[in-house]
């Protein structure tokens, strides 16, 4: 406690000591999500007569978790500055189609195609950011427009055809496992680690969160909020590029519908993961765990042949619940802080 202020602080600041810090950890949404993940996974394993734990099923579980994780992070990054990116799904599809088309129709080497997909995602993300800053139009509208444009461009790459038979090497990596864990899942985890490091430790990442948390205070501290917006959108685009590479490597064929089913999950993961829509706070761990939980719902559906509509209903209710809990927390904190 401060030497200047009495320990019995009338404004009600809780005493912060090591023990209290541990107490806080058990109350974090990350901890709740981890519990739900572990318990849910165990229940699902038992319910499937341990079919879930057999090599093939378990591999598939994690293989199809890679893209939702990265796409959730792509959304989380822009949520961090209080923005949204509606173009994540369409951009994933566009980048994936472009990379596949370059390999199939123009015999571009896989390494170059992957580089182009990453660059394309980053470039479109930067355009989103610059448009938001220059026009002062809300990112929701800007990315709604770019989403529609990208859907058109994506169709333009190969019409309604399917692109397949590209680089066997890339597909092999996409299907490979390391000690039984799919490589593309490991890539997604590594990306998550980098994103976490970026937000925790780099000046750029901290500035971005400062802009999201209190733009006025950030400006008074010499942080450029415009710069933060552009960086957030650019980074989001780069992560979308990564997701598109994972899609191309993992699936073996791509068509013009790729990415259509990614927009809602991109929001579901960070929102269930406890990321505030108002900006200023992100949670990589929460986003990854939430993606895991959503994946479990998917697997449950497949395993028990449940009508697809029930899954959407469950995910929808969970998202609504997560947002409500966030709002309740906010109100409680405000009440405690007093008028």
């Amino acid at each position: 406690m401060s030497a200047l202020l009495p320990p019995a602080d009338p404004t009600g600041a809780p005493p912060s000591r090591r023990g209290a810090a541990a107490g806080r950890f058990y109350r974090t949404s990350e901890f709740s999500l981890a519990m739900i993940s572990v318990v849910g996974f165990a229940v699902l394993a038992v319910a499937t007569d341990f079919n879930l734990l057999t090599g093939g099923t378990l591999g598939a579980f994690f293989r199809f978790l890679a893209v939702p994780i990265v796409i959730g992070l792509a959304q989380m990054v822009v949520l961090g500055v209080g923005q949204m990116n509606l173009s994540v799904g369409a951009l994933t599809g566009y980048c994936a189609m472009t990379a596949a088309s370059l390999m199939v129709e123009h015999s571009v080497p896989a390494v170059l195609a992957v580089g182009i997909a990453l660059g394309l995602g980053t470039f479109v993300g930067a355009i989103n950011g610059v448009l938001v800053v220059v026009t002062r139009i809300n990112g929701f509208i800007v990315t709604l427009a770019t989403m529609t444009i990208l859907e058109g461009l994506r169709y333009g790459v190969a019409g309604s055809g399917t692109l397949q038979g590209y680089s066997p090497g890339l597909q092999e990596i996409g299907g490979a496992s390391l000690l039984g864990v799919p490589v593309i899942f490991l890539v997604a985890l590594a990306v998550a680690g980098l994103v976490a490091f970026y937000f925790r430790r780099t000046v750029s990442g901290r500035s971005l969160l400062a802009s999201g948390g209190n733009p006025f205070a950030a400006r008074l501290s010499g942080i450029s909020n415009d710069r933060s917006l552009v960086i957030a959108h650019t980074l989001s685009g780069l992560l979308v590029g990564v997701a598109s590479v994972l899609v191309v490597a993992g699936s073996g064929s791509v068509n013009t519908s790729i990415g259509d089913d990614l927009l809602l999950p991109s929001f579901a993961a960070p929102i269930i993961g406890g990321v505030a829509l108002t900006g200023g706070a992100v949670s990589v761990v929460g986003t990854v765990l939430a993606a895991f939980i959503i994946r479990m719902v998917d697997v449950t559906q497949a395993q028990f042949d449940i009508d697809r509509r029930w899954v959407d209903l469950v995910v929808g209710v969970v998202v609504l619940g997560a947002v409500l809990i966030g709002r309740i927390r906010e109100v409680v904190t405000l009440r405690r802080a007093g008028p």
Binding site: S2, D9, S16, R201, S204
Partner: protein, 504 residues
Amino acid sequence: MRDLLVAEKLVKTFPGVRALDEATLRMRAGSVHALLGENGAGKSTLIKILTGVEKPDSGRLLLDGAEITVSSPHAAGKIGIGVVHQERNVIPAFSVGENIVLQAMPSRGGIVDRRRVRAEARRCMELLDLDLDPDRPVATLSVAQTQLVEIAKALYLDTKVLLLDEPTASITGDEAERLFTVVRRLVADGRGVLFVSHKLEEVFALCDTVTVLRDGASVLEAVPLADHDRSQIVDLMVGRAQATLTLPERTVEPGTPALELDGVATASGHRDVSLAVRPGEILGLYGLVGAGRTELARALLGLDRITAGTVRVNGTPARIRSVREALTRYRIGYVTENRKDEGVFGDQPVTRNIGVTIWRRLARLGFVPDRRERAVVDTYVDRLGIRLASPGQLAGQLSGGNQQKVSLAKWLAAECAILVIDEPTVGIDVRTKAAFHQLIAELAAGGMAILLITSDLPELVMLADRVVVLRDFAVQGELGNDHDYDRTSQAVIRLIHDDHAGVS
């Protein structure tokens, strides 16, 4: 002692207002300098110029004898001018340490050097004898602790001049005492502190010299505070009134008050507020910014919850749960102080702006015939002398004064019997202002009960029959008004600055 920071003959004009009129501020190293002035005297503008938020039209700034230009808030910090604003400005999710060093995070190759963040934060906090864990999230701190963290932040970049804007507005008396100890320690090290406060008792307890602003000019420049007593300072802050208008004669009927509050407490924090307005009467509600005047108006409109006490309308207890109920059942209208955001629909025609309160009355089977709306609107456009190209003109295109008239007209159209008018003439030119005063007096003469919230002392003294002074969400006192400017204004100011006033 040498001059540390000098602001010389600063002039700053905003559209229609001369906010600073050759104001001069002269601060010395190693002393605490008070900046005083009533609402609208130019204090905020002066602070904004010193901290690089606004640029002066003319005049110059000197720091340690060298002329400086402060191009941005960040630039101010870099050359040694630190500021702690009235509102808390922290990044809630960040740690104490990160908030302190936010202006220039210690880093290596773009990666935050957390050891140095902690060390630098500890160094800054030591200057204040503040011992907080640098890793602690700032969201877990009390208001007073957060404020000290902000002072530590202001000291991070080798600050020579520290500006404290109303630092005691949201902390308790004990906490304020500790803050003063910190301030004295900072000036003992040769810094200069500019202390802006409305609380005269604090100013006299802490400050060495004082500058008083009035109407944008410095009427007292950098004199030792010991040479003056409180009433001299108050006289200087208040000044003289301008020529008065001839207002219509009014008689206030002695009977039942149109609106009466009895021991009212609200969710926004009011305690035991009692007041009464009779038909034909103008009750002035005075207080400093943040005293709870607008919040009281909001409670009367059902926007904030009333938690205790009784509100009576025409003698009958009233439960006001929504603006619609306030209007239709109790005939209470509210002209907002925030014209742009709450008063008019800028991108809608004037007709819709005025008609909005009476659509229900005008409607036939759910439709509002344009003709009926126009007829009513025309009446009030004429009566208030609203200058329009056509009634279809967008409200946002009108001048400030005419927008304010539109904002008022909709309540007249709704035939309110009780009108709460909040800062009616802020940002309005002098001529329109006079017309507005005339209008308010006429409305009262016509039998309306008016609760006038204003920070403009001449306006208050001219219009109000009685004055209720609010401070910290409670009634500080009530007094009659004989429209003698010097007498009433000084009585009001004394009431505000007196810590031990009872209700007279």
